[in-house]
Amino acid sequence: MLVHLRRSLVMAVTCLVLFGFVYALAGTGVAQLLFSHQANGSLGPDGSALIGQSWTSRAFFHGRPDDAGPYAANPGSHVPGGDNPLVANGVAGGSGATNLGPRSKVLVADTRALVAYWHSMGVNPTPDLVATSASGYDPDITPQDALVQIPMVSRATGISPARLRRLVAREAHGPQLGFLGSSTVDVLQLNEALAALR
């Protein structure tokens, strides 16, 4: 029994050093050396292109809703900010979905509120725009989700719908390697390009 215990302790410490430190630190070193932009969070001047933000102005394209945020459907969690990777505008949060099931009355009511929110903005929403994501801060929408927002953005900015359609087409990424995943538009990059247009 003692020999099992001694071997267990030796093995546990060996693994801790080898995998907890050597593997992790070597990985961090290689990552920082080869891909320092990605390894530090793909940060740009306006935030991370990989982390969704809450957009409220009609002069910008909006991302998908969050359970918190200005278009929080659930009044109980109505807080400014939204899309909380840890803290957003002073409100603490974290990644996560709303977890409301497919036959939840609360989800029906929340979705109705989101549909009404979009109608008040002059947008006829696509399903993505009334569906909360899995991470809570999905940075992407589909090109179609951006196109339906063009009337709102065009009215607020005075930029012609045709120019906005070209902008969306330019910012859209097709499926990766031609077949993986969906066509997407990164909302932050799209809005940065939109701001540059003005």
């Binding site: 996560g96 977890n99 399903p127 909360t132 991470s135 077949f179």
Partner: protein
Amino acid sequence: MGFFWTIVTLLAALALTWRYLGSYMAAVFDGRVRWLRVLERPIYRALGTSPEQEQTWTRYATSLVVFSGVSIALTYLLLRIQGSLPLNPQRLAAVPPALSFNTSVSFVTNTNWQNYAGETTMSYFSQLAALMVQQFVSPAVGVAVALALVRGFARRGSATIGNFWVDITRCMLYVLLPIAFVAGVVFVGQGAVQTLAGPVSVHDALNGVTQTIARGPIGFMEAIKQLGTNGGGFLNANSATTFENPTPLTNWLSIYLVLAIPFALTYTFGKMVGSVRHGRALLAAMVLIFGVWVGFTSAAEHQGNPAVAAAGITHQPAGNMVGKEVRFGDTSSALFAVASTSTSTGSADASYDQFTPMGGFGLLTGMMLGEVTPGGVGSGLYTILVYAIIAVFIGGLMIGRTPEYLGKKIQAKEIKLAGLASLVMPLAVLVVTGIAVSVHAGRTGPLNSGPHGFTEILYALTSQGNNNGSAFGGLSGNSPFYNVIGAVDMLLGRFGIIVPVLALAGVLAAKDVVPESLGTFRTDNSMFVGLVIGVIVIIGGLTFFPAVALGPVVEQLSHGRFF
């Protein structure tokens, strides 16, 4: 069309992996691979053991159980003293006792059930030294058990079944470490974060939003999280977050890594027992069930979300996008989910709680089949071998021949052990679910009402009993009740199967081989594949049908009703 090519490329990659990783692993476990002997030898010296020192099944099992106990204690300790340890940029305090207990059991048993949100609970030190270490160790322990059982079939008249310490060392050094490292580089290259610096604050002048973004050494943990069928991510939303799983390519890679070793081990098995045909028969059973579950679940998720339809948006061409990420879409999220729940992984690139009732049914039943399609690293192989033994027994009864598998007579003792191993999991899951729905502390857990609330409880305890770790995230699991009952469920589901399997390995290794004759029941043809599939589906189906009927089936059938 994109989904079609996703499947085709995965199949092609997995086919190559099956053949070449399978034979590489056979060489590793035979001791023929030595390129890391500068690390391997000192470990044996420090342990005071060597590959020549073989163990009987009782010593093998004692080593395994004591080592797991020590690992649980050490992990628990590290989580409890987290506040005094380095690499804690957010100055997070100690993890509470009940949560530390559940989490340490969870990571040591390869479950990776998480009753906490990583970014707000665990320091970088805890993530790496306490949790990620077990993501290397626990799959290696699973492989060791599988190897012991395979040797039981391969050897004749042998008192020993291998050396536990040597088996786990070789698995970690030669299989897990190099593959995880290469995959980690790909994850980071695609956008996964890998830094020891703390959270970063950013301000966007365009919309006036200031965000603090959680970061950490995520990318390389992601690689071993998937490869070791662990599933416990750095961040709360797991593989749905861009910092863990940034692109559709990393999503594809995640699915590949999850399935690579469990499928390839059937080749390793075939090679080690001297009949690749037998490995191919088990592979066929795994692949056929897996394929049906992928088809069923992705079809279910390609339907719209009933609640969104009730809110007036009836046209949902992209399927159920509630709780899914745009970059992955509906069918790829479903494929990921089935890969994760048919192995013992439990990672999530979508919110499983928000799958359609039949989509959730696919995930829940994938676990209930005992996780053999293809199952976890190591655990998938040893569990399907238990089912294969039951299948030859039933086949033998039907045609009146003495059941044999790989020349070993399957007699009363073997059947008792196989029966025990196959009954522990359903018993644990159903009893603890019964307790949870009978007491107040259990009933206050679910977020959703109606049948979906029951499914949340059933899913949580099925997931922990099968060492899967995926969740219907609405359940508030971080209560003393769920932390403790979940830990008991995980321990039973792990060691309640491992100990009988090791006993089985010992009994089989001691036996002589009966020469094949005309009367031998074939165990490498399509008839046998059908029999194994039948056993898996009938045992899983009959055991869990009543429970499943009360959850997702009722939910699916209650058209137009909301709860």
